[in-house]
């Protein structure tokens, strides 16, 4: 057990514990805040694993944007402050499938890797990641930009009720002039 292992164990324990609180808490807003802790711990694991660009992108996009969007959605759907009792379905099947998937995958990976050690690569690889993205992976990169644009347009169309109404209206565009 080196220092890296201890750090990974501690961050992994924080991530799994806060993830259990995300899926188990009865407070909607607290679920979002525990999600911040979980994503931050995973970003710390990326840092330890010498993937610093992914770690900072995780902090920027997940903690900075996705969680804020989720908290906005919690507030816009008028979530009650305090504990709410109707958040969960009665779920033995959920516990069975979730526990089976998690523990099964964990057993598979433990069996595959045992207690072997691997040398960490050198840190500071943002330049090499950038070279890879813009040489070997440039086509998926551009396709992803098109996907982001279409997701943006789709979100706008979904959240503007008048656009869908005029499209489904039998009178076509004249429905807008009323």
């Amino acid at each position: 057990m080196t220092g890296v292992d201890v750090l990974l164990l501690a961050l992994g324990a924080v991530a799994v514990g806060s993830a259990a609180l995300v899926v188990g808490t009865r407070h909607l807003v607290r679920a979002g805040l525990y999600l911040v802790v979980c994503l931050g711990a995973v970003a710390g694991m990326y840092l330890v694993l010498a993937a610093e660009l992914v770690a900072w992108v995780q902090v920027l996009i997940y903690v900075g944007a996705v969680v804020v969007l989720l908290l906005f959605a919690v507030m816009l759907t008028r979530a009650p402050i305090g504990a709410s009792d109707d958040l969960d379905r009665p779920g033995w099947p959920a516990a069975l499938i979730g526990g089976g998937a998690g523990l099964g995958l964990a057993a598979l990976l433990v069996d595959a890797y045992r207690w072997t050690t691997v040398d960490l690569p050198a840190a500071g690889n943002a330049e090499r990641i950038g070279e890879q993205v813009f040489s070997n992976w440039v086509l998926p990169f551009e396709v992803l930009s098109v996907l982001l644009l279409s997701a943006l347009v789709g979100a706008i169309v979904l959240s503007r009720p008048d656009i869908g109404a005029t499209r489904d209206d039998a009178t076509g565009d004249r429905g807008r002039s009323r």
């Binding site: 969960d88 979100a155 979904l158």
Partner: protein, 135 residues
């Protein structure tokens, strides 16, 4: 570095995400559990990038970046759908969504619910304020 530690962490995170998706009724909490699953996959990708030697260097980290972008797009569209659902039904409980398709001309079975936006252009200004009026 022992690669089994982040791998097992990722497996447990994925299991917790599956449990959350199946267990939660609130659609926003379901989306949070989906984020947990996507993070587990990202953790697997980054760990595999540091432990395995591939032909293309750093393919795992590049894929993790792509998955993060996909997650951002997914959360944007997903929250738009959730907010539209709340606007139409004043509830985000995923087990109250009618799965059968409603035919044209049929009356909305949700008694007292706000008029959905598909019934015409004239109803759309009222759709935004309907949940407040229902309470």
């Amino acid at each position: 570095m022992r690669p089994v530690i982040p791998y097992v962490t990722a497996a447990l995170l994925f299991g917790l995400g599956v449990y959350g998706v199946l267990r939660r009724r609130n659609a926003v909490l379901v989306l949070m559990a989906v984020e947990l699953m996507l993070n587990a996959v990202n953790l697997i990708l980054v760990t595999a990038d540091t432990t395995a030697r591939a032909v293309l260097p750093h393919g795992g980290q590049v894929f993790a970046l792509f998955v993060i972008v996909l997650a951002a797009a997914e959360i944007g569209v997903g929250l738009a759908i959730v907010l539209q659902l709340y606007r139409m039904r004043a509830s985000v409980a995923v087990d109250e969504i009618p799965l059968a398709e409603r035919r044209a001309g049929e009356v909305e079975p949700h008694a007292g619910g706000p008029v959905p936006a598909t019934t015409g252009g004239g109803a759309s200004p009222a759709a935004g304020s309907a949940p407040e009026g229902q309470r």
